[in-house]
């Protein structure tokens, strides 16, 4: 294969960050900039002190040149995240509702635009870390439920799913194979086993 093994079937954290940078985010420009037509998106006319939606990567470039302020998303406040954290504690069987990219977005914003956030950065970091840990414990607990047919991961974010994937998918595949061989009480079980043996991807 042309792709390295560690890139096959799973995303790298840097790739997930890249995907997160395509999200639209509100900015508060400090200068007026004419409209720029790009291949993928177009950046609208920017007028000073007039809010605009632009892709996050554009916002970061402007921010690094001090040409705009980033308006933090409404979920990136200590109060909101605390509420979510309480939700997590209250409902041990489900994940609370957070954006698909919450981990990456908060990481990027805490790093690149700490001065634009409404709450002190250290408090935000604390509550994000708490959220992350409770959710991790939950997903680890949920691994008990692995079976050959399906698994429900409502409310998990992309990065969290990505952490689970390399473990969960091979395990489920093995379980499925075992299940199928027990179900096959036909005459040609021998053939079936031969096929299964050739299908085995050796993850030993």
């Amino acid at each position: 294969m042309v792709l390295p093994k560690n890139l096959q079937g799973n995303l790298m954290p840097s790739e997930i960050t890249f995907l997160a940078e395509n999200e639209l985010i509100t900015i508060l420009p400090r200068y007026s900039i004419k409209k720029i037509d790009l291949i993928g998106t177009s950046i609208p006319n920017l007028r000073a002190m007039r809010r605009e939606l632009v892709p996050l990567w554009v916002a970061l470039i402007l921010k690094s040149q001090d040409k705009c302020n980033i308006v933090p998303p409404k979920w990136l406040t200590v109060a909101y995240l605390k509420e979510r954290y309480d939700d997590e504690i209250r409902k041990p069987l489900q994940f609370s509702d957070l954006p698909w990219n919450w981990l990456e977005l908060s990481k990027i914003l805490l790093e690149k635009a700490p001065d634009d956030l409404s709450d002190p950065v250290d408090q935000l970091r604390t509550v994000i870390q708490d959220l992350r840990e409770t959710r991790l414990v939950k997903s680890k607990k949920g691994l008990k439920e692995l079976n050959e047919s399906n698994i429900q991961l409502n409310g998990l974010s992309l990065l969290e799913i990505n952490e689970l994937r390399p473990f969960v998918i091979p395990v489920m595949n093995k379980l499925r194979q075992l299940y199928e061989t027990t179900q096959n009480n036909t005459v040609n079980t021998g053939d079936q086993e031969m096929e299964d043996a050739s299908d085995d991807d050796d993850d030993a």
Binding site: V2, P4, K5, N6, L7, F18
Partner: protein, 233 residues
């Protein structure tokens, strides 16, 4: 027992499957497996003759035994073939992995291929880890042409030509470049080893060891890949 040598070969392949280089080709093992397969083939031919003689007679018992022998012989042959193919496929995969990285092979042999770079110096065999390959674990990042047998060397050269041909239809995209998503357009780089003169759109700079530049990433990606520069984060 039949298939033991093939098993040895497979174990050797398994051991080397996560190495970053390609170990020497096990020509002795392969030869002995081929010899074993030839012997098995002779047996099979003999058994088929026997079978034909038994066909005429009413000796059901012996005919069955003979069929069984023939079957086992064929199975052993097929197993040998599968092991040989698996071993060769593993090596071929490692060679193709290496081809896509665009690093020059270690030049200990007389035949060496150097890719065209804008640095007026061919890479000599340095065992320094490339910055590009630091995060590639279980990946072939160095290749000694001496460890390949003749056919594999041919395969390597032709595969390189194939890649070149494929890339030529995408002139302005570097398909074998860095696989990490882009972050910044401009980066700071530090020179790791002396090169020569490099010309970019913004003028030329001399690669002198330990000097630093602030350049456009796309201009120097090639040089980072070849280990002349490293990115300063």
């Amino acid at each position: 027992m039949f298939g033991d040598t093939a098993n040895k070969l497979i174990l050797d392949g398994k051991r080397s499957s996560n190495l970053s280089n390609i170990p020497i080709y096990q020509s002795d093992l392969v030869k002995s497996i081929v010899r074993e397969t030839n012997d098995l083939n002779k047996d099979a031919e003999y058994l088929i003759e026997e079978q034909e003689q038994l066909q005429g007679t009413q000796d059901q018992e012996n005919s069955k035994i003979n069929q069984c022998q023939l079957f086992v012989t064929h199975l052993s042959m097929r197993r040998n073939k599968r092991c040989l193919l698996a071993y060769e496929k593993l090596r071929a995969d490692k060679i193709t992995e290496f081809c896509w990285l665009n690093i020059d092979p270690i030049e200990t042999s007389t035949s060496s291929s150097s890719t065209n770079t804008n640095v007026n110096q061919s890479a000599n065999s340095n065992n320094a880890v490339n910055p590009l390959t630091k995060n590639l674990n279980n990946y072939t990042t160095s290749l000694d042409l001496n460890n390949l047998n003749h056919f594999e060397q041919d395969f390597f050269k032709q595969y390189q030509d194939l890649i070149m041909e494929f890339k030529s239809s995408f002139e302005d995209i570097d398909l074998s470049g860095d696989l990490n998503p882009p972050t910044n357009i401009f980066i700071d780089v530090r020179v790791l080893k002396d090169g020569g003169e490099v010309t970019t759109e913004y003028g030329s700079f001399n690669l002198i060891k330990d000097s630093q530049f602030f350049v456009r990433k796309s201009d120097v990606e090639r040089l980072i890949q070849q280990g002349y520069l490293e990115e300063i984060i």
